[in-house]
Symmetry: C2
Subunit: 181 residues, 2 copies
DNA sequence: CGGCGCATGTAACTTGTTACATGATTCC
DNA sequence: GGAATCATGTAACAAGTTACATGCGCCG
């Protein structure tokens, strides 16, 4: 069982979805802490189905063309719970911006400054997306069983993005002032 | 050229090192934003040497047994600079703790609480390590050309770890109060 | 002389990405 | 009819991990 399997099980534990929809949810809502590619997703769905942890749903031919909706099985729910019990591993990150910052003495400051501005823009966007999502969720308070947990996850994203932006602002200022030689 | 190649070039741009020493530096100093395994490192060194971006140093048989020290070549420095010019990609993270938090409605709160405490401990350690390193660097101010940049990278680690810990504290409190059902 | 840390390396495996192929539906 | 989006999937490749094999040097 790989990590991909468990995101799928997790999302299907909330409602039946197609592979494409799973990808969309991960991209739209998880992107600040998770990602999956189709090349991982579809084979994983296939394998989960083979092991009967998920199954196909046939919505009385309400379905269009080739679209396949999956739902989680009892065994799947068990597997998911078991995984939730295991402590997550200490995450091993790779932040290219920091690596380039570390060695940035070898290139003109303007280069690094451009990278930092890019980083800043990216995370401003992320922050706005998260705030938007938070607002939506707060509007429909208590409709979803998992509501408060999701808000807490979003809050992690908001806080870390704010921290990134604050650091970015300071670092850009230092570079501009020539404090860093 | 993969990312591993550039960390190696970067570190060798500061001083000649053995593969083992490179690994040690990455583990000791970069762990909060980078990681490498021996299985990546040694083949990468081999390939960099073949392409003449690094070369072996022979310190007049001062060296012990099988140890191989490498230094960067002019071509290697060029390649490194070129890479430093390219904008880093938007990092794609996988934070297991958030995934488990998101789906934590399926397991008892005690389970999630334990994960959060583990996360907290891990990042308290990381924060202390970073503060220690910061202190050391501030003590020998200006000895190293890259000094201020390194301090800025460390600051990123300190700020983000503080944010993680703050979030953790709040989330643990919420869970304990039963605010999250 | 045993264990630990230093030191290098490989092979098998798992994981993940990218590019491609295919085709339906919707909207203009 | 063309473009965008929906939708599924595979194959080739790249990246990364783990376990293993080997052996030196130092310290107690």
């Amino acid at each position: 069982m790989r990590q991909t399997d468990f995101v799928i099980l997790g999302l299907l534990s909330e409602s039946p979805l197609t592979g494409y929809q799973i990808k969309k949810v991960i991209t739209a809502r998880f992107s600040f802490f998770w990602h999956e590619s189709f090349g991982q997703l579809y084979p994983a769905l296939k394998s989960l189905k083979q092991r009967a942890l998920i199954e196909e749903v046939n919505l009385e031919s309400l379905q269009n063309h080739a679209q396949i909706t999956y739902r989680i099985t009892a065994d799947g729910t068990e597997a998911l719970k078991q995984w939730l019990h295991e402590p997550p591993e200490h995450e091993r990150m790779r932040l290219g911006i920091l690596l380039k910052m570390y060695f940035s003495g070898l290139v003109p400051d303007a280069v690094t400054l451009a990278h930092l501005k890019r980083f800043q823009e990216d995370h401003e966007k992320d922050l706005n997306t998260l705030k938007q999502y938070q607002k939506e969720l707060q509007g429909i308070i208590m409709q979803h069983a998992n509501h408060a947990r999701v808000l807490q996850v979003i809050d992690f994203g908001i806080q870390t993005n704010k921290t990134y932006l604050q650091w970015c602002k300071e670092t850009i200022a230092l570079l501009k002032e020539g404090e860093i030689r």
